[in-house]
C-alpha cells in the first residue's frame, strides 16, 4: 500500500504518516501543492490523500490536473471546509472521497482501505461470503449455516456493505453514506439500533458472532 500524503501542516502530516505507517502503508509526503502534483504524476501510488487548501496549488487543482492527464489514482480529500458545497466541489473535481477535519484516524483508515478496494478493478460479484454467512446478490437471499435469514431491504444493503468490507472497519458515517446515501450529521447514533437489529438476525442464534463493534471507530464483519 503506497500512499502519497499532501499536507502542509507539519504536525498533522506527522501524525497521519505515523498512523498510516503503523497501519502498514508506505507513505510519501509533500508539503505543498506543486511538489504534490509532481510526485503524484511521477510515480504510481495506490491512494492520494490531499489537503483541500495547500500553498502553491490547491487540492482541487491537483486532482483536476491529474484527471485531465488520465491519472485515475483514487483521491481522498481532507478539508477543514465542511460544507456540502465544498464536498460537492471536491467530488466534482474528481475526488473519490471527502473527509472533514478533524476526523478519527480509524475513519481515515477505513476510507483509505475502501478506496484501495475500489482502485483494484472489482469483478462483479454475485455471492458474498463471510464465514458461514452467505449472501446471494442475484436472488437477494441471505443464509447462515444453511439457514435462510429474512432481511428487510435496508438490512440487506447494510449487510451487503459490511460484507463487501469484510475484515475491515466500516465507520458509522460510511454506513450512512453508503447504505442510506445521505451525508449528514446524526445527533444520535441511529446506526447502532440498525446494527443491533441486524445482529439479532445474523448473530443471535449462531456462533461465533460475526458482527463486531470496534470502539471509537465503527463496525467490522469478520469470521473468527
Amino acid at each position: 500500500m503506497h500512499i502519497l500524503l499532501v499536507e502542509d501542516d507539519p504536525q498533522m502530516a506527522d501524525y497521519l504518516r505515523k498512523a498510516l505507517i503503523e497501519a502498514g502503508a508506505v507513505v510519501d509526503r509533500a508539503a505543498d501543492g506543486r511538489e504534490g502534483l509532481l510526485m503524484a504524476a511521477g510515480s504510481d501510488y495506490d491512494v492520494l490523500i490531499l489537503d483541500r487548501m495547500l500553498p502553491g496549488l490547491d487540492g482541487l487543482a491537483i486532482v483536476r490536473t491529474l484527471r485531465a492527464s488520465g491519472n485515475r489514482t483514487p483521491v481522498l480529500f481532507l478539508s477543514a471546509l465542511g460544507d456540502v458545497d465544498d464536498r460537492v466541489e471536491g467530488l466534482r473535481a474528481g475526488g473519490d472521497d471527502y473527509l472533514i477535519k478533524p476526523f478519527a484516524f480509524s475513519e481515515l483508515q477505513a476510507r483509505v482501505e475502501a478506496l484501495l478496494r475500489r482502485g483494484a478493478a472489482e469483478a462483479p460479484e454475485t455471492r458474498l461470503r463471510v464465514g458461514d454467512l452467505e449472501m446471494d446478490l442475484l436472488k437477494r437471499e441471505v443464509t447462515r449455516a444453511g439457514q435462510s435469514i429474512q432481511l428487510q431491504p435496508r438490512e440487506f444493503r447494510l449487510l451487503e456493505c459490511l460484507m463487501r468490507h469484510a475484515g475491515r472497519v466500516v465507520t458509522r458515517t460510511m454506513l450512512l453514506e453508503q447504505v442510506w446515501d445521505y451525508h449528514f450529521d446524526p445527533q444520535t447514533n441511529v446506526i447502532d439500533v440498525h446494527i443491533s437489529r441486524l445482529r439479532g438476525k445474523i448473530d443471535k442464534d449462531f456462533d461465533p458472532p460475526l458482527l463486531q463493534t470496534v470502539r471509537g471507530a465503527g463496525y467490522r464483519l469478520q469470521a473468527g
Binding site: M12, A80, V84, D85, P102, F184, V190, G216
Partner: protein, 471 residues
C-alpha cells in the same frame, strides 16, 4: 420566520395597486390641486359674471343720471317724455322703465305693474319680468333701482338680465366641468404617479427582502436616469457594499479563530488517540485517554456546528441545490429513525399527500433538518409517545409537518429555541448541544422556507413550508 403564508400571497397581490403613504400623499396633492383650481375658477367667475353684473349696474346708474338730469331741468313732463322716447327706441325691451303714482298706477313705462318684490336698502330690486302681448308668456329676470320722486311718484329703472343670466349659467357650467375634469385628471395622474413610485420602492423592498433572506450580494437595480430614486438606490447599494465588506471581514476573523482553535484541538485529539493506542489494553489510563478523546470530539463538534451554521447563514452557498423529492426523503428518514423510536416504545408514522413532492434544495441539508426535528421529537417525547410526519402540497407550497405528543414547547420559548445554545430545559439533563434547531433555522432560511412551531395539543408541531420547485 413566522410569516403566515396566505398573508404573503395577499401582499403580493396588493403590491400591484398603489398603497400606503405614497397614495395618501398623492391624494393630498389632488386635494390641494382641487382647492387651488377651485380658487382660480372662482376668480374667473367673479371677473366675468361679476363684470357683467357691474356693467349692468353702471348702465342703470348712467340711465338714472340721465333721467334725473331731465327731471331737474324739465320736471315731470320732461321725465315722462324722455321715458316714452326711450321705451319707443328700445323695442326689444332690454331696458325697463316704470313711473307710478301714489296708488301704484302706471303713469308711463314699459312695465305693466309695479313688482311685488321689495327693494333692498340701496333701492335695488330683482324681480320676474313677464312678457306680454306675444303668443306665449315668458318669464325672465330683471334688475332695477327704484326711487321716490318729490312729487310722490315712484320711478323704477332697470334692465332685463335674461341674456346675462344665460351667460352666467354658461360660465358656471363650463367652470364646474373644468373643475370636474381637472379633478379626474389629477386623480388619474396621482394614481399613475404613486403606481410608478410604488414600483420603484417595491424594487427596493424586494431587494431588501432578498438580503434579509441571506443573499447579501443583491443590489437595488438603478433605472439609469440618475433621478432621486437612483441616488437613493445608489446610496443604499454603497451601504450594502460596506456592510458586505464588514461582514466578510468579521466572517474571515471568526473563521480564522475557529480554524486557529480547531487546529490545535485536532492535534490534541490526534495525540490523545496515539496515546490511547500506546496504552495497554483496558487500563485505567487508557479509559481516561478515551474519555479525553470523547471530550475533545465534543468540543470540535460544537465548533464545527457553529461554523457550519455561520456558513449556512451567510446564505450564498447554493451550489448543491437541485430538485429534491420530499416523499422518498421522508420515507428514508422514517425508515432510518423507526428502530430508534421503537426502542423507546414510540410510534413513528408518516403520510404523504402525493406520490411525489419536489422542492428546490439541497438533499443532504434537507435530510439533516428533518433528522434534527425527528431526533428531537424522539428525544423529548416520553416512551410510548406518538410521532407523526406528514408531507403534502397545496397552493404551490410544499409542507412538512413533524408532530409529537410530548411535553411541547411553551409559547414564550418558541422563538428562543432557534437561538444558539438555547435549551428549554435549564438543567441540561437531556443530551445535545443546543445547536440543532439553530442549524434547522439556518437551513430553512437558506431554502427561503418558513418554519413555525405550534401546539399539537398536547405536544409540539413543527411545520415547514417550501416554495415548490418549478416543474
Amino acid at each position: 420566520m413566522r410569516v403566515a403564508v396566505p398573508a404573503l400571497r395577499l401582499r403580493a397581490r396588493l403590491a400591484r395597486v398603489p398603497r400606503g403613504s405614497i397614495f395618501r400623499l398623492a391624494l393630498l396633492y389632488v386635494l390641494l390641486l382641487a382647492g387651488s383650481v377651485g380658487i382660480l375658477l372662482g376668480f374667473i367667475y367673479w371677473s366675468t359674471a361679476g363684470y357683467m353684473d357691474r356693467q349692468t349696474t353702471e348702465t342703470i346708474e348712467a340711465e338714472i343720471r340721465g333721467l334725473a338730469e331731465q327731471y331737474r331741468r324739465r320736471g315731470l313732463v320732461g321725465l315722462t317724455a324722455l321715458i316714452s322716447e326711450r321705451v319707443a327706441s328700445d323695442p326689444v325691451g332690454a331696458s325697463v322703465y316704470l313711473l307710478v303714482d301714489e296708488r301704484f298706477e302706471r303713469v308711463v313705462g314699459n312695465l305693466d305693474r309695479w313688482p311685488s318684490e321689495s327693494p333692498d336698502a340701496n333701492g335695488w330690486i330683482r324681480f320676474r319680468l313677464r312678457e306680454w302681448g306675444t303668443d306665449h308668456t315668458d318669464e325672465h329676470e330683471a334688475r332695477a333701482q327704484v326711487f321716490l320722486l318729490r312729487s310722490g311718484l315712484m320711478l323704477l329703472v332697470g334692465r332685463d338680465i335674461r341674456d346675462l343670466e344665460a351667460t352666467r349659467y354658461l360660465i358656471l357650467d363650463a367652470l364646474t366641468w373644468g373643475l370636474a375634469i381637472t379633478l379626474a385628471l389629477a386623480l388619474a395622474g396621482a394614481w399613475l404617479m404613486s403606481a410608478t413610485l410604488t414600483r420603484r420602492l417595491d424594487a427596493i423592498n424586494q431587494t431588501s427582502r432578498e438580503i434579509m433572506e441571506g443573499d447579501l450580494t443583491r443590489r437595488i437595480p438603478l433605472s439609469g436616469s440618475g433621478d432621486d430614486f437612483d441616488r437613493l438606490a445608489d446610496g443604499l447599494n454603497r451601504m450594502l457594499e460596506r456592510i458586505e465588506a464588514l461582514m466578510a471581514s468579521v466572517r474571515q476573523v471568526s473563521d480564522n479563530i475557529a480554524h486557529d482553535l480547531r487546529t490545535p484541538l485536532t492535534r490534541l485529539r490526534n495525540k490523545l488517540e496515539l496515546l490511547a493506542a500506546a496504552l495497554a489494553g483496558s487500563s485505567e489510563s487508557r479509559l481516561l485517554a478515551e474519555e479525553a478523546i470523547a471530550d475533545a470530539e465534543e468540543l470540535l463538534a460544537t465548533f464545527n456546528a457553529l461554523l457550519r451554521i455561520a456558513r449556512l447563514e451567510s446564505g450564498s452557498r447554493r451550489a448543491a441545490f437541485g430538485p429534491v423529492d420530499l416523499v422518498p426523503l421522508i420515507e428514508d428518514l422514517v425508515e432510518l429513525y423507526e428502530p430508534l423510536a421503537a426502542e423507546r416504545d414510540q410510534r413513528l408514522d408518516w403520510t404523504a399527500g402525493a406520490s411525489s413532492i419536489v422542492v428546490e434544495g439541497d438533499r443532504d441539508l434537507l435530510f439533516q433538518v428533518m433528522a434534527n426535528l425527528v431526533d428531537n421529537a424522539i428525544k423529548y417525547t416520553q416512551p410510548g409517545g406518538h410521532i407523526q410526519l406528514a408531507v403534502d402540497s397545496a397552493d404551490g407550497l410544499a409542507r412538512v409537518l413533524v408532530a409529537d405528543d410530548g411535553p411541547g414547547i411553551a409559547p414564550e420559548f418558541r422563538e428562543q429555541v432557534f437561538r444558539r445554545f438555547f435549551r428549554v430545559d435549564d438543567s441540561r439533563a437531556t443530551p445535545g448541544s443546543g445547536l440543532g434547531l439553530s442549524l434547522v433555522q439556518a437551513v430553512v432560511a437558506l431554502h427561503r422556507a418558513h418554519i413555525e412551531l405550534s401546539d399539537n395539543e398536547p405536544g409540539l408541531r413543527v411545520s415547514l413550508s417550501f416554495g415548490r420547485s418549478p416543474q
